[in-house]
Every structure is written in C-alpha cells, then in structure tokens.
Symmetry: C2
Subunit: 311 residues, 2 copies
C-alpha cells in the first residue's frame, strides 16, 4: 500500500488544508507541530497491524512493544524534540488478552522507563482475530531547535549516525531461521537515536533531519523534495557491516539522516560523539542538481536503488 498511501495522504492534506489550524502546522511529512510560545509540542502516530507489520510467532510481545514505541520516539527525536509522553491503543483478540497483553505492557513499560516517557492515555478493546497497536508519541522542543526535512541547503554535507543495514539484514536472517545473529537482535531491538536527535536539535549547524525508516535511498528523497534540492551520495562512505543493498535500501535502522553546514561537520561530529558516544559519518552532499546521484569513489554510478517496503 506504500504507493497509494502517499497519494491518499496527499489528497487528505489538500482536503483538510482549508480547515482552521488552531496553532498546529498543516499536515506535512514530519511530525505535526503545535506552537506553545517558546516551546513547541511535536506529535506523531503509527499503527502496527498483526500479520502486516509483525508476526506473533516470530517476535515476542515485549519485542513488538519495543518496536511500536521506538518507531514513534524515533520520529519525535528526529525533529530535535525530547519525547515526553505516549498514548497507546490496543485491540486484542481473545488469544492475546491474557499473557500476551501483560508481556506487551511490561515491555512497553521497560522502554518507557528507560527513555523517561510517560504513558498518558489510551484505549483497549477487543478484536476478532488480530492485534492492532496504535501509538501516539508527543515530544517537546524549544521552537528554535526544531529540525525539519525541508531545511537542507545546497552545499550541506549529508551525514548519518551509527551504521546502516543491520535491521534489514536481521530481518532476512530471521526469515531464514537464523534468529540469534547480531543483525537479528538489531532488528528485534533497534534503538532509536533519541539522545542524539535531541543533541543535534540544539546545533544550529544542522539544517535538515529525519530518521531512516525506509533506507537512505528512499528517505533522502523526502529531504530533496521538501527542500527542493539534489544530493550526491558516496556509496563507499556509507557506514555498514553488511551488503550495500541492506545499507541503502534496508528499513528500520532508526539512524538519523541529516544535512549540515560543511565547514562545521567535524565540530558537530566531535561534539555528538562526546555527548552520546555515537559516530556521525559524512556520506554525501546536497547539490543544486535536483537529482539523486550515487557515486563510487567519486564516479557517478548507474544504479537504481528502491526504498524498503514494509509490507
């Protein structure tokens, strides 16, 4: 549904664009933002459906809780906001109303506790035969620290946190029954870059930022479109322990993709590492070409990399 999802959302944004906004920004590609004076609230929501986004047989209830919370916290932190609270809706078939739901809530609690995030509301209800999970995450940020996909500037360095590709390599491992590889663990318990997002939010040298949920090949295009720029990405620079296909088109890495002032890259990378222990790697440049070009050691490549499809 990935393709039609986008046009459906486009239609919705047009349809609802004329309604009063009451201090909220209109629907865009980032979290929604509510002006609160010096601060802003950012909010995002994600729905996970059994047999589409997860299989009850392949992931524990705690792992599913972890994932459902992380995808949302990651979106909030990628705007530079500190996640403060979530709302959780669960619809549970009878087979998930006892032990499964308790394990889910314990897992949800553990992640909430570790990240210092409150659970402030929700709904639980029955379903016929499959679990559906909806999480809303709310973050708070000083307005001047908000990072958006639309703020990349020509000449910026394109950078990523950490290493890419582990989560999708792990998914393939799991599909082949190798449940205990390092990549499989990375897939099941991927950690959003929350402290990193909040830190990078405070750096004015950072211009555009988002989290990598569909792979850089797909996600950089959101920044390009919304910032009206092009990008050159150097394949040999992409930090990964796996095949370049995982590292460029693999989903759910939860690393941050950002663009920043080229003269300040070293200073920001050093400060980020000092603050969080996380590396920042330059992988390309924002250009005025309007196009995405892949380079191998500086030479343009004919390469068609598609984004990751979650379902």
């Amino acid at each position: 549904m990935k393709k039609s999802e986008f046009s459906f959302i486009g239609d919705i944004a047009t349809m609802f664009g004329s309604l009063p906004h009451h201090g909220f920004e209109p629907i865009g590609d980032d979290c929604t933002v509510l002006d609160m004076g010096d601060d802003a609230l950012v909010m995002t929501t994600d729905m996970l459906v059994e047999d589409v986004h997860f299989l009850r047989g392949a992931s524990s209830a705690a792992e599913i809780a972890h994932k459902s919370l992380m995808v949302n916290l990651s979106d909030v932190a990628a705007m530079g906001a500190k996640p403060i609270a979530t709302l959780l809706s669960l619809s549970l078939p009878e087979s998930a109303q006892g032990v499964w739901s308790e394990e889910f809530m314990r897992g949800y609690y553990e992640v909430s506790k570790r990240e210092g995030v409150a659970l402030v509301g929700g709904d639980t209800t029955a379903s016929r035969d499959r679990i559906t999970i909806n999480v809303v995450a709310i973050g708070r940020v000083a307005k001047e620290n908000i990072k958006r996909r639309s703020d990349a500037r020509i000449g910026d360095i394109v950078a990523v946190t950490g290493k890419l590709g582990a989560s999708s390599k792990g998914l393939v491992d799991i599909m082949f029954g190798d449940l205990d590889t390092e990549a499989a663990r990375a897939h099941r318990l991927a950690q959003a870059r929350i402290a990193e997002g909040v830190f990078l939010g405070t750096r004015h040298e950072v211009h555009a930022m988002m989290d990598l949920s569909d792979g850089i090949a797909s996600d950089i295009r959101h920044i390009m479109e919304l910032s009206d720029v092009g990008a050159d990405i150097e394949l040999s620079a992409i930090p990964t322990d796996y095949d370049i296909r995982y590292a460029t088109t693999g989903g759910e890495d939860f690393e941050l993709l950002l663009t920043l002032d080229s003269e300040c890259f070293d200073a920001v990378a050093t400060a980020l590492h000092a603050a969080t222990g996380t590396t920042l790697t330059a992988v390309g440049r924002i250009t005025d070409s309007g196009e995405l070009r892949w380079l191998q050691d500086g030479t343009p490549q004919e390469l068609e990399l598609k984004g990751f499809t979650h379902f």
Copy 2:
C-alpha cells in the same frame, strides 16, 4: 472485554504511575491533561474495530467516520474543552482501500469542518481483512474551566442535557431491520454536545461533568467513585421518548451528565438553553450515602440496571 478492560487499565495506571509526567496528569478516568500555563490541552483516544464496534454492511463509511470522530470530540467537550485537532490512524484491508476509504475521509472531513477541528496527523496502513480506526482528539481549555468526574459535591443536582435512550433504541431498531426510524438515525448520526460542553465549562456552578457513553446507570458510578459520593436518581425525571431501560442503560447517547450547585440549576439551565438551544434536566442529587439509589416519584426502588456493553 469491558470488565477486564477496567482491571487491565488499573494495572497499567499503577505500573506507569512512577514514571516522570512532564506536565501531564497521571492516567485517570478523564482525558489526559497537559498544563500549558493559563490553558491546558486535553487529549483522548478511541479505537474502533470492524465486527466489534461496527459492521461494514450496517453502516456507511461516512457514518463510521462520524462515529469515530464524535466519540472522541464528545470526551474532549465533556471536560469543558474546545476540540481543536485530531490525529487519525487507519488500517485498511484491500477491500476498503478504494471507495470505502474515500467515503470515510469525506465523512471525516464533513464533521471536522462542521466542528472546526483540524486533522493534524495520522497513519494509513494495510491490514489483512478488517478495518481498524484510531482517533486522537485534542482540545484546549482555560485551566480554571476544566471539568472532571472527581469534582461532584454532596447536595449537587445531577443533570443531563437533551433526551436519553434514542441511540440504543436506534441500535435495536437497526438490529430488527428498521433502518429508517428516528431512533435509528439518532444512533447512526449521534451528535456530541460540543458547544454545550464548552459553555458549561465556563460556568463555575458546574462541578463534575462527563459524557454519557454507557448509560447513566453505569456512568454515574464513575462520578460517584472518583468524587467519593453517592447519588439518588429519580426515574420519572429522566428525559426520554423511549423505554426507561434505553434511557438508563443504553449506550452512545453523547449527552452530558453533570453535577451542579443546586441553587444555581435554574440559572445555568436558562443560560445553556439561551446559548445553545439545548435543555438541561435535573434527574437527581449527589448524596453522602456512597450508594446509587433509584427513586420512582421519590420512593426508593429495588432495581438493578446494568451498564451498556458495546461489544
């Protein structure tokens, strides 16, 4: 799942109670409240599941959109807050991805427009075979105008807006194939008391308030428990065009249930009618008995009325 839902939510509230709240009130029986200075945001969420909360064959997509939005706007307004925005998550099986989803969104838009509410975020995703809808509604209110279930005082008059029982009578009509009765229309297109809730929020004579979603027999107990009081309800005073069973235990009327200073009832009722055209009817008293008593023309009745079960 109504029974286990409550104990499950109780466990969750206890489990998460020790986490930092970041300005949010802990999970209670009302919407969550976020302190914003002079104002507060209130938020609530509700999940609707196909074949549990609605049947695709019995309601149009627009009617389901209407209901999914109204249940949430009603919760917000029942705290005295003006609904300003919603987030909508939809998971859609292939059979609902074309015409059904477009009709749903058109219906959602019509209600949003009429109520002046923005759509500020959401998620759409695939599902295997059933539709799930999650709506989050956000309202804004001056802090001093927030009404809660916990603020009833002994001696207060218990009052309701409008007339009770139409929605559940309508559901029974629909079950028997009478789709075109006035009650059936009331069930399909029940209107939350939004202007009324906001108006009553401004009246300091009103103490506790909530919306009637499970029938007064069930919902008054929430006010009793949270306010640590009892209540006497006079059956002959309950405003209804239908059997008293519908009027006391029928669900989804979306009328307001409130308690207010007994000396001010007439003034508030007159002002509410002038402002909104809606009647306010006194149906009982808050007592120190700790119990719910049903009266018929002043005489206590042995009567066991159960709450409405949605599924």
